[in-house]
């Protein structure tokens, strides 16, 4: 009988200690402010640049009621000149030099182009600054000139299944006492301001609202109800491409939608790092090049790392710990007891490769391999 097989869902990383590298890149080329070997703080700016400013097209032919071909000679400024808001930009020739009409620019910027074909003048606004923060408190290990840098640190790393909101920072605070405890609004207190608040099971929309008002940086919890997510976002999320939401805080869900408890291992791991500074990113992209939300907690100077053996990662084997990720067993955790090689017919009538699993309750069931994920993270911190 086959004892190992390629897993369909590699599962999420929940690792007490691992080496993590953050690549911090500018969207366009610019200045990198650090050098290899530098120790950087998560909130420190490591690279910056200026994006070309916003563009404002002005159709002077239309605005001054003249043929487009006349626009260049009526211009009071030439390409490359600076113009301030309220400053005259063009003046018509008028009749015998009289009755001249003037157009005063309502935007400030630099004249980028003047078209005699369309009569359009393009004014470009001031450059927009773009800054990239370190995100990870650690050491710069590589600098890509004009592009950015790579920062490395030994961290506790927890991947969520879904998140909203971008990068944020704060110390870990355990708000729920148990991994199956719901995160309700009464648990959100003013002293959580600036913290990464960790719940247990489902987080409610009311709790999120109170956390937002209290200035909580991020909420980590096991589950969220679809209706609550809609209430928080103000719309029904159609595709899981997130990270750019501006809702006042970042949310990371570790298990999925519904009333589902955070995996005990994840909860215990986060609890073991209570008080330590974390970086959180809710950005999720479930498409080719999948991206999951994450919680990164640098270890600081203590602790050494076991690198997980590559063989253990991404393989389903008898005895492996798995989580069911679809109904009717959604969220249940168990151990693989058999991996029959031949496809079997499911109740739905579909034929699929399956595995046999015994849940923590002792119940043994058959599940399609596509409907489980490995609980990964064999690395551990040495004492």
């Amino acid at each position: 009988m086959t004892t190992t097989a390629a897993a369909y869902a590699p599962g999420l990383k929940v690792v007490a200690a691992m080496r993590y590298t953050a690549r911090r890149l500018l969207p366009i080329s610019g200045n990198v402010l650090v050098k290899p070997g530098d120790l950087v703080d998560a909130k420190q700016v490591v690279a910056e640049t200026f994006m070309p400013g916003d563009i404002m097209p002005l159709n002077l032919a239309k605005l001054l009621s003249m043929p487009p071909g006349d626009v260049p000679e009526c211009m009071l400024k030439k390409e490359g000149d600076r113009i301030e808001a309220g400053e005259p930009l063009a003046r018509t020739k008028g009749i015998f030099g009289k009755f001249r009409t003037e157009y005063k620019s309502d935007v400030a910027g630099t004249i980028e182009s003047i078209s005699a074909v369309t009569g359009q003048v393009i004014v470009r606004g001031a450059p927009l600054p773009v800054q990239v923060k370190a995100y990870l408190t650690g050491r710069v290990v590589e600098v890509m000139p004009n592009e950015g840098c790579a920062i490395e640190a030994d961290v506790t790393f927890v991947q969520g299944i879904f998140g909203i909101g971008g990068e944020t920072f704060g110390p870990i605070r355990m708000v729920c006492k148990r991994h199956e405890q719901e995160l309700t609004e009464d648990l959100i207190t003013p002293d959580l301001k600036g913290c990464v608040a960790v719940g247990g099971a489902r987080v409610t929309a009311h709790a999120i609202e109170r956390a937002r008002t209290a200035g909580v940086s991020a909420i980590i919890s096991g589950g969220i109800d679809d209706a609550d997510l809609e209430a928080v976002l103000g719309y029904n999320l159609g595709v899981a491409i997130t990270g750019s939401e501006r809702i006042g805080l970042t949310i990371v869900i570790t298990e999925g939608f519904g009333e589902i408890a955070m995996a005990r291992r994840t909860f215990d791991l986060l609890a073991s790092r209570e008080g330590d500074a974390a970086a959180v990113n809710g950005a999720t992209q479930i498409r080719a090049g999948v991206m999951r939300p994450e919680i990164v907690i640098p270890l600081g100077t203590g602790g050494r790392i076991h690198q997980p053996s590559s063989e253990a990662a991404g393989r389903l084997a008898i005895g492996a710990s798995v989580r069911a990720i679809r109904d009717p067993y959604f969220g249940l955790i168990g151990r693989v007891t058999a991996l029959p090689p031949e496809p079997q017919t499911l109740q739905s009538g579909s034929k699929a490769r399956v595995l046999e699993v015994t849940f923590e309750s002792g119940e043994g069931v058959i599940i399609p391999r596509a409907n489980v994920e490995l609980i990964e993270g064999t690395g551990g911190q040495e004492s």
Binding site: V239, G258, S350
Partner: protein, 611 residues
Amino acid sequence: MTPVDPKNARVILATDCGSTTTKAILIQQVDGIYRQTHRGEAPTTVEAPFADVTIGVVNAVTEVQELAGRRLIGDDGRIIQPATDREGCDIYISTSSAGGGLQMMVAGVVREMTGESAKRAALGAGAIVMDVIAANDKRKPHEQIQRIRELRPDIMLISGGVDGGTTTHVVQIAELIAPAKPRPRFGGEYKLPIIYAGNKNAAPLVRKVLEGADGFALTVVDNLRPVLERENLGPARDAIHDLFLEHVMAHAPGYDKLMQWTDAPIMPTPGAVGNILRTIAERQRINVVGVDIGGATTDVFSVFGGVFNRTVSANLGMSYSISNVCAEAGMPNILRWVPFDMDVRELSNRVKNKMIRPTTIPQTIDALVFEQAVAREALRLAYIQHKEFATTLKGVQQQRTVGDTFSQESAGQTIVDNMKLDLLVASGGVLSHAPRMHQTAMMLVDAFEPEGFTTLAKDSIFMMPHLGVLAQVNPRASLEVFERDCLIYLGTCVAAKGTGKSGRPCFRYAIRSATLNESGQMMTGDIRLFPLDEGEKASVTIEPERGFDCGAGPGKAIEREVRGGTVGLILDARGRPLSLPVEREAGRALIEKWVTALQLYPQLERQRLRA
């Protein structure tokens, strides 16, 4: 080594490099006829850590090699060519949609005219159209610029103006694009390819504007709308294919190698599917609709009266986009296809869980029924979008005579006519992998609502992309395999157009075949299935009641020969347009009746009997 003339090829190897899976098929001559003999697949390897598409190709071909007992990969890791009796192939061809396919942005002067023609050209070439910028798209110029800056297209297509017409507007569009400097998806060094296919008199002006700004690679082709009355999409479409290879593919990991291996240019996957459907429609002189429903998007292709159209409904799909389907269709519209009660809150959470874990499959019958209900709505919405897009040309001046006084036909009418539809082809996971083909057939009938006589088929193993490229080098092989191995015929649907009171007569029927001799009456609201095996044909006579039409006109009798299939012959008297009672109880009872009549879910039947 003398290359084999593609027309004389005996062994053909084809791959399709999808976003997640690379599929390989082997086509060989068996008794003088081309047949698809073996297939293999392997994960696509475009992304890290492999970052070389040819690794996935070699893996998929290796699987074919093992199954076929024919050595296809040489010691140098390349495909062996030409074929001998025991190894190699004569032709190797490939399609690709890896890395999200070809993403384009198009621009035109008037959205409904040149904007739409440009979109048609891009879609027809197999692209996903990210946005259409037009002078009249109701956005302010700075908003358009902002949008151009945000998107990262692979190629841009600019059109606008008829030849000899005004040049101002199209130059104005170019003036917006030039400073916006859209950033391509691949790397900073890469120059964004722009195709200009507008008013030929404006070409030098557009060239001046775009070449003045750095970072563009401009190609000028013939105007895609030289006069308002005619589209000329060929040159723009060819340019898109060329640029896809030269710029986009050349920058994708491993494609430089793959391009050297293939004996015909690599095509975008949907472009190849369109190609084969167009070929079939042309050769058999039929009207065809094809659909490919994926995890993220649904592609609909149609050929009516020789005119080809393709639409991509972004965000109508069965995994990544399943939540969007539910949001767009609304949960009540989905649940109307479900013959039992479900908890809406729990369902909403299930839908989201499928969205975030897209590779899971339905284990229970309830989950399957729900997923197929979602598929019906995704297909229905995608087909509505397709019908709105596949129209006669807008903006054409029409001469009207007194005779036209009562005719309300105007430009911009859809050319999709379900009564004239001859063949409906399904592909994509939820349709191809349904446990019972009856389910596939009914998802098609419920979503597309074919009228009159329509043959239903499915693409057995999603082979259409391979055959689309093959059609370019060896049309005979392509057609032979399409007819014998690609399509699995499900049967024929005969449906009456019109509405009536439930339970009242709709049409009389008489069916004669070697195995069937049936006649009777269908009541409005009924649907029936008659066994008619694959390869069998039957003569069907329909006499519709007044107000119902099966192809000969309202109330007029019609006789046609129909094709059998794995499902059989479906007589559908539910009326068109199909309408279900709003009241849940009545709707559920009706669906239950239809489910039983079509033997869709025998498990449900057994459960009910046990209860």
